[in-house]
Symmetry: C2
Subunit: 223 residues, 2 copies
């Protein structure tokens, strides 16, 4: 079935990484994929735009079914291949409530991270303000403190089992670590990161340009 699938992805993009983790967990290795370069604007190529008119990655197709959004693709894969690989939606009501809540509040986390990491890329020079940079960093700091509390009751985000919450949130935390997030200041996030980073599905899909340059950046230093 994986032969009917194609994923267009960019290295280091948390949304792309999620879909790759879900594919690994569901035992769907062998899917077709194309690694595209954001720098070269390959996500705006005709090949992508024909499937995904917003020109974003991931772009994902299973047969004739187009499921581009990372959450949509993860939920679709779990529902279509429920009896295969790791069950990613938890059964118990408590765990399921926590799983959905963490999955979706992760969007706030991701947005606040993006607001800090990509400010100069997203905001034209004439519209940039030091006050906005400061506010964005403060908002990310508050968000990190919240997740530091939320993570670590664990071992996984929704409780004792790996779930879609981990598929969705781990790439955001790993991205934070790559950009200099202090594991001393956020020890629970650090512990969670260390636990998950050696999971086979995550190792198999680790961003290749992070492997080439494991040093990372220091954008989040001091936060």
């Amino acid at each position: 079935m994986a032969k009917d699938m194609i994923l267009y992805w960019g290295s280091g993009s948390p949304p792309c990484w999620r879909v790759m983790i879900a594919l690994e967990e569901k035992g769907l290795q062998g899917y077709h994929h194309k690694l595209l370069s954001f720098e070269k604007q390959e996500h705006k190529s005709k090949e992508v735009m024909d499937i995904n008119p917003r020109g974003q990655l991931p772009t994902f197709k299973h047969g004739n079914r187009v499921v581009n959004d990372s959450y949509a693709a993860c939920l679709y894969l779990e529902n279509q291949f429920r009896s295969q690989g790791t069950p990613l939606i938890l059964d118990g009501a408590e765990e399921q409530a926590r799983m959905y809540q963490r999955m979706f509040e992760a969007q706030t986390f991701q947005q606040k991270l993006i607001d800090v990491l990509y400010y100069t890329w997203r905001v034209p020079e004439a519209e940039r303000h030091d006050s906005a940079v400061k506010r964005n960093r403060e908002a990310l700091s508050a968000e990190l403190q919240l997740w530091e509390q939320q993570v670590g009751e664990g071992p996984f985000l929704a409780g004792k089992s790996f779930s879609l919450a981990d598929v969705i949130v781990f790439p955001i935390i790993a991205c934070g670590v790559h950009f200099g997030l202090s594991q001393d200041r956020y020890p629970r996030l650090g512990q969670y990161y260390s636990l998950l980073k050696n999971r086979p599905s995550i190792m198999a899909s680790w961003p290749p340009h992070w492997v080439e340059n494991p040093q990372g950046m220091d954008t989040l230093e001091g936060l």
Copy 2:
């Protein structure tokens, strides 16, 4: 079971409205709820912050389970009350793929609508730029044209049956109409709006301050 639920909500907020539509569709009338005022900052009250540290609406609790995000709450309700009321997750693979894709690309739609409607509320005066206002309106216009194509193969967003895609997207479109979206310029969106607005779950949860002031606004005129 609905007696164990409490929803804190604001009138006219698409995320709050979604949860109310889902509760109606699942036959969970009789849940407790509190209508709060954004203007009076009641969403930042201790009562809300104790459950929802970000101080956002909706805030939703079922027994001890906190599920604040609107997508999380809708998915949780459908999973926990699957055999009750309207089935909101479609079974067929094609319809399910389309349902998830529409549900989640709706976030882009909602964000672009917010960027236009609430620019002055969200951006401090010293950081506002006409160039940003213009860019936001152009982005929303492109997004509307995309949805005008996507809607209307229907009658519902994912095909022949009402689904979570409609629960999620209808409030965004209704919000657009309330703020002056031209149904002449977007006839398919207008047709979809007209079809859905009389659905019992939607009528029962219609924003009360829109009922009091059905005139609406003209913020989106000309888009």
